[in-house]
Symmetry: C2
Subunit: 405 residues, 2 copies
């Protein structure tokens, strides 16, 4: 089903010095499935993260924030699928702590030095004992195997790598992600982990994680549902020979940011390409707004509209639904007579109505493609925003009506 | 498909003295279909309306607002289906004006005394000439026939009546509505027309129309899409023997308001019962909020979530999706440990997690019903809100992927 998404090739995924991956079968939800991933990081690293804005943020997210805020040296990440440990109250926090404690024991560190992550069904007690029992039996894993281990309703594993030169020295960036449903910024049931062997100070990494997440993972929407467990983590192991990046005002910062953003964007787009039931990959660009916020509001009104998304599924250039969504996006003083609407390079609407030269066959040709762009020019300012989304198909309903059974 | 919605019985729909209904076949989109309705009102009436907040508000909506603001005596409403005359710019306004002018000629009044309404596909030129040609050939119609004439993707016609005593005199209230898709408050592709033979001054009617629309038509959501054409109109013919209602501070005002609200609520609920692809009718009640706005935000987060709605369709008591939606509703200081979540009378979640006594069979029993209630107690104030919605089924996708073909 995934739209233009290639199977992973382990040979293209760069190892990150100072970071070891291993997986285990805990039987959280299904037997005989690798459902636990551990990322073990050598000392001397820095780690930063951004997390869901959902008020029902899951127990592991609460612990991650505590552990990162404590300023201790992080030594490992432990991720399980099959259960989100969300909506589980104090008991959920205790169970997440028990997993951290068990892994810390083995690694001879404190529980606070472990970051826990969970994804899967909400409101069910996490079988932490099974995860604790499975941890010692885990086996070394490649990046592709790691990407497989964190999948839920994903149909394909998601990983990406880049090499970049920092101060004349080669640096590697590799990341994995999972997504599929409950995807909306700030953030989705989306886990993203991107690691580099570059050396980056914690304050700089804290800034980088926001600047990288915002135009990538925070610009995607499958169904408008912001999940309880979303997390995006940057890991800097510092094991390359490149000079330490200790300022955001440097060419080295721009270089590592560009590489991290490339990887994060490819992963974020992969989540949309593999969106639940997706048959189309759609880029929504809004330009000429007074603020980024209003451009995003218009882009997300389009990306969230079930009517627009079912029309995409049907390859139906039902432009009225697009204009309707723009109209209710909440830009209250929007002058609809000034805006222009394009499908790829085809000008379809202007002056509050259909362009006289537009022919339905042109819109049809654009929508027949597996990938296309919706472009809205507001002509009221210089701000812009870009969002990626997918269509809304029978399979979205099937997947989400069947998910727990 | 409609959930617990009975076919109309013309015998239960009260005539409104001073109001004549007639229908015509204009062939706007389909041949041999009554697609134009005229409501001719005797002099001495008052009329008030509320309209969509969509910035792409349709040409007829723009004219309705102008004509109502002009303060002239309204003499007729003309409604067509098959084409929304929205996103049609200046030409769309001219075509709507041409229809008003033609009907005004026949009724010996001014074009400004006619209110035009359109519903159907957006961004296609309205074949106004066909409507103008069809107007003289229209035939008298009953309320049930009128309700049929304004249907689009509705599977059943929607009408409702009440009788009420004002100052000891009998007064009738009868209304019709159409809806089905693109339904979200402020408002939906929803047309609602409610008439009474009570006499009500224009200032009082202007207040009434808001007070009646707000807890009825503005509390429904099928798919979260606010349409370009939504209109709700109150007509007071003043032909009953009841005393004039010229103040909002009177028992008569409360009595007529209650009757109008009854009719409007039944019509609004009928739109949800007949929502595109609906198999469930769900009431979402949020209590104990600090403001009505935050209660509505929580209720609509639930009512709009595709994940919640597909779970309803599957009769799957996937409570995690409900908590997740509450969590991202935007109530930023919400303490999730204090809230309680009920399905009908079953307490399913409290203290941030599942209630220990809750058994899945209980939730399953509630969701197996065609109608049930989701009740959220926020425990942080005295405000409340109620919203009606439906589930999200394969048929929603089918209907909206096929709608234009």
């Amino acid at each position: 089903m995934a739209v233009n998404l290639k199977p992973l090739d382990d040979n293209t995924l760069l190892p990150i010095a100072g970071l070891e991956l291993s997986v285990a079968e805990a039987g959280v939800k299904y037997a005989n499935r690798r459902d636990v991933l551990v990322m073990h990081i050598d000392k001397g690293n820095t780690v930063a993260g951004v997390f869901t804005q959902n008020r029902f943020c899951a127990a592991p997210v609460q612990l991650c924030k505590q552990h990162l805020d404590a300023g201790v040296q992080i030594r490992a990440l432990v991720i399980n699928t099959g259960n989100a440990n969300a909506g589980t109250g104090e008991e959920g926090r205790q169970r997440a702590r028990a997993i951290c404690a068990a892994l810390a024991d083995e690694l001879s560190c404190q529980a606070e030095q472990i970051l826990p992550f969970s994804t899967g069904v909400i409101l069910e007690p996490l079988p932490a004992d099974r995860i604790v029992r499975a941890l010692p039996a885990r086996k070394p894993a490649s990046w592709a195997e790691a990407a497989h281990a964190i999948m839920t309703t994903d149909t394909m594993a998601k990983a990406s790598s880049r090499r970049v030169s920092i101060g004349g020295e080669p640096v590697a960036v590799t990341g994995i992600a999972k997504g599929a449903g409950m995807i909306h910024p700030n953030m989705a049931t989306m886990l993203g982990f991107v690691a580099t062997d570059a050396a980056i100070t914690r304050p700089v990494l804290n800034q980088l994680v926001k600047e990288v997440c915002d135009p990538s993972f925070n610009c995607i929407s499958v169904d408008g549902d912001t999940s309880t467990n979303d997390s995006f983590i940057l890991i800097s192991t510092g094991k390359s020979q490149a000079p330490l990046i200790d300022s955001t005002d440097s060419a080295d910062y721009q270089a590592i940011k560009a590489a991290l953003l490339d990887v994060a964007t490819e992963l974020a787009q992969a989540i949309i390409r593999d969106g639940e039931g997706a048959t189309k990959f759609v880029t929504v660009e809004v330009e000429g707004g007074r603020s980024v916020a209003e451009c995003k509001a218009v882009a997300y009104a389009i990306a969230r509209s079930p009517l627009v998304k079912t029309a995409f599924f049907a390859s139906d250039p039902n432009l009225g639904r697009l204009l309707c969504a723009i109209g209710y996006a909440g830009v209250n003083d929007l002058d609809v007579d000034r805006l222009e609407l394009y499908l790829d390079d085809v000008l379809v609407a202007h002056q509050g109505g259909r362009h006289p030269d537009y022919r339905e066959e042109q819109g049809q040709a654009v929508l027949n493609q597996a990938e296309f762009k919706v472009r809205v020019l507001l002509h009221r300012g210089a701000a812009q925003a870009r969002v990626w989304t997918c269509d809304f198909s029978y399979d979205y309903v099937r997947i989400n009506a069947d998910y727990r059974s």
